[in-house]
């Protein structure tokens, strides 16, 4: 036991002495969470729109005021003719141009209808869709108000949409679970595989093997420090997302932490497995990044929904552990469901862990090759 503790102490010294390791352990998760939270936000805020008003009456004034006071849009330049539309969009600052036809207000009152056109910048498809959706909604709202005040109110069926669990459709709700999932597999798999292959590369493994340390002691000694620090990471990410983005944990915190521990353990055992099959650090890094990180980002359902993937990718994603953890963590954090709803995914993660540990112990060589 004393031997083992000595080994664990040495691992902690390695970690705390190496600035790069500390940055990967604590700097990257914090940076990721903030980055994803703020920058990769899909919410619309203060997008600039330009107006080409060929009518210039009370009605067009009202509509443009409504658009610009919504908080989603900001008034950009005022255009004078159609030739300016192209120029405005090319400038990249203007996300959309709103064009009112001639005699807009008069036509609307006398004929009951008038034309508005929205010209969006299609070179950014997501932004364009978002912008036009928001603009259409605002104009529809104006329509309803107008209909309500006038006597000739037509019967309108208005669907009332409510978003459960994430009423304001905040992007962070989506990203925080995803980032936790990815960061954990990055830190755990990458770091443990590096730390073991480093011993091989520096020749210290030779002496460790000649020592009376058992393989299980070497493996556990490598795992325990990273297990503890990764757990600190999870708590740090949860705290950050709660304090900065106001993202609450709806379900049981204890259950969430317990599931995180399982996931960390599984990622660590995959890291060890990687280290037993790679003979140097480059190889370990390559396998961790290309073999684990990339498919996890693309196929775990973090960014692209699994349901929309071609069938083959769906099968590949079935063997990626992050896919299951994302389901678990979203359920617990956002929907607030209990263990009964995630037991299947939990069981799958347990199987992954057991297989990885079993293979690692079997692959761990008590001799050199």
């Amino acid at each position: 036991m004393k031997r083992f503790l000595g080994f664990v102490k040495k691992e902690f010294l390695h970690i705390f002495r190496d600035v790069r390791t500390m940055i990967i352990l604590f700097g990257i998760p914090a940076a990721q969470i903030l980055l994803f939270g703020f920058v990769v936000s899909t919410d619309l805020k203060n997008a600039q729109v330009a107006f080409l008003d060929l009518s210039r009456d009370e009605m067009t004034q009202k509509i443009s005021d409504k658009i610009c006071s919504s908080g989603f849009f900001r008034r950009g330049e005022t255009l004078l003719n159609f030739d300016d539309v192209d120029k405005a969009l090319r400038g990249n600052k203007i996300k959309a141009v709103i064009v009112f036809e001639k005699n807009f207000g008069r036509k609307l009152i006398s004929e009951g209808e008038a034309d508005i056109s929205i010209i969006a910048d299609g070179s950014e498809p997501n932004m364009a869709t978002l912008t036009t959706n928001y603009l259409t909604a605002i104009i529809a709202d104006f329509n309803r108000e107008l209909a309500g005040t006038s006597a000739a109110a037509t019967m309108l069926i208005q669907p009332e949409v409510r978003m459960f669990y994430n009423p304001s459709l905040k992007g962070q709700f989506m990203f925080v679970p995803g980032v936790i999932t990815l960061i954990m597999i990055l830190i755990c798999a990458l770091m443990t595989s590096i730390t073991i292959t480093r011993e091989k590369e520096f020749g210290t493994m030779e002496v460790l093997l000649v020592s009376p340390l058992k393989p299980i002691q070497i493996i556990l000694g490598k795992v325990i420090p990273y297990f503890m620090l990764s757990f600190v990471d999870v708590i740090m990410i949860l705290l950050l997302s709660w304090l900065v983005f106001g993202l609450p944990v709806k379900g049981s915190l204890i259950l969430l932490l317990a599931e995180s521990m399982l996931y960390i353990l599984m990622s660590l055992s995959i890291g060890i497995l990687i280290s037993t099959v790679s003979s140097n650090m480059q190889q370990a890094i390559l396998i961790s990044l290309v073999g684990m990180m990339l498919p996890s980002v693309l196929l775990s359902g973090f960014i692209f929904p699994i349901e929309n993937m071609p069938e083959v990718y769906g099968w590949i994603s079935a063997i990626l552990p992050p896919r299951y953890f994302i389901v678990i963590i979203k359920n617990i954090m956002i929907k607030g469901t209990g263990f009964l709803f995630v037991w299947k995914e939990t069981l799958i993660l347990m199987v992954f862990t057991a297989v990885a540990i079993g293979l690692s112990i079997k692959n761990f060589k008590i001799r050199l090759q």
Binding site: F7, K10, D18, E206, V207, L209, P212, R367
Partner: protein, 305 residues
């Protein structure tokens, strides 16, 4: 005398290449046993088999009375091993490295301090320094301290003096000699011929085969020819001239002179004339005693032909 290591017919192959071809030797208790040979001779492979890091393909090997295949757990407790690359943690301090190896082997620095005090006292003033920042000589002393800290019965040192300055090398051998008072048998490999003289017995090894095992003096005496040392200011020119001289059978550079043997061991005065004609002046020739290197080169020659 009790044998600490006994090997017979040891073979090891890596893919198609034979690293060891039927190696047999014995190491006595309490001796310093040296393996001398060029790079790639198979020294490291042999040491890895002795330290249970590799399994032999064929042959028997008993270390400390235990079979190297079945007794590896017990053996690993009693062997001190210093690999060719100093196995130190560069980001740990001198002190931390030493106490780590002590705990891993289930002991403390205090317990066996007397064993390493001679060596460790040289680096103790720097005990807070990171191992990566030590000089080659200090790294070597620390690695030796780490390998000794659990008082092993057998110490295996793989090229411990490679890349270390001459003064440290000399100090290092002094330390090894002192260790014999502690009942520690030492197996050491080196590419330096001059270090061979400091071993009790040496094995000359080349291409996976042992050419000769004996006391260094006896190996020197095994040189079968009359050896002459020739000196001239232009050494390079001298060697070329000697190599093409018909009466000479072998030419090897040795320090600032050239060692040659004559066909039928007859020193021929015509050599002076021959060298003069070749444009080499100020030649001095004297008979000399063969060094271990001469014997090694002779053995290699007979072995290859």
């Amino acid at each position: 005398m009790k044998k600490v290591v006994e090997s017979s017919g040891l073979c090891k192959r890596f893919g198609g290449t034979e690293a060891l071809k039927s190696i047999s030797f014995g190491v006595n208790e309490n001796e310093i046993f040296g393996f001398i040979g060029p790079d790639g001779a198979g020294k490291t492979t042999l040491f890895r088999i002795i330290t249970t890091l590799l399994l032999p393909d064929e042959g028997e090997l008993k270390v400390l009375g235990l079979d190297c295949k079945t007794g590896f757990k017990e053996l690993r407790r009693n062997i001190g091993y210093m690999p060719g690359r100093f196995s130190l943690y560069q980001d740990l301090s001198v002190e931390e490295n030493l106490s780590f190896y002590a705990t891993v082997f289930g002991t403390t620095v205090k317990e066996n301090y007397d064993l390493i005090s001679d060596i460790y006292s040289h680096i103790e003033p720097f005990k807070k320094r990171l191992a990566g920042k030590l000089s080659g000589g200090m790294k070597q002393k620390l690695a030796l301290s780490c390998a000794l800290i659990h008082k092993p019965a057998l110490l295996v040192l793989d090229e411990p003096t490679t890349g270390v300055d001459a003064v440290s090398r000399s100090e290092f051998w002094e330390m090894l000699r002192k260790l014999r008072h502690h009942n520690i048998t030492i197996i050491v490999s080196t590419p330096y011929m001059d270090e061979a003289m400091r071993c009790d017995r040496v094995a000359l090894i080349q291409e996976g085969q042992i050419l000769s095992v004996d006391r260094p003096e006896t190996i020197r005496d095994g040189f079968s020819r009359k050896l002459f040392s020739i000196k001239a200011p232009e050494k390079h020119k001298l060697i070329n001239a000697l190599r093409s001289c018909p009466g000479i059978s072998s030419v090897y550079p040795f320090g600032d002179s050239v060692h040659v043997t004559f066909k039928d061991d007859n020193f021929d005065n015509a050599i002076y004339e021959y060298l003069e004609n070749s444009g080499i002046s100020d030649v001095s020739i004297s008979e000399t005693r063969a060094g271990i290197e001469d014997r090694f080169l002779e053995l290699m020659g007979t072995h290859l032909h």
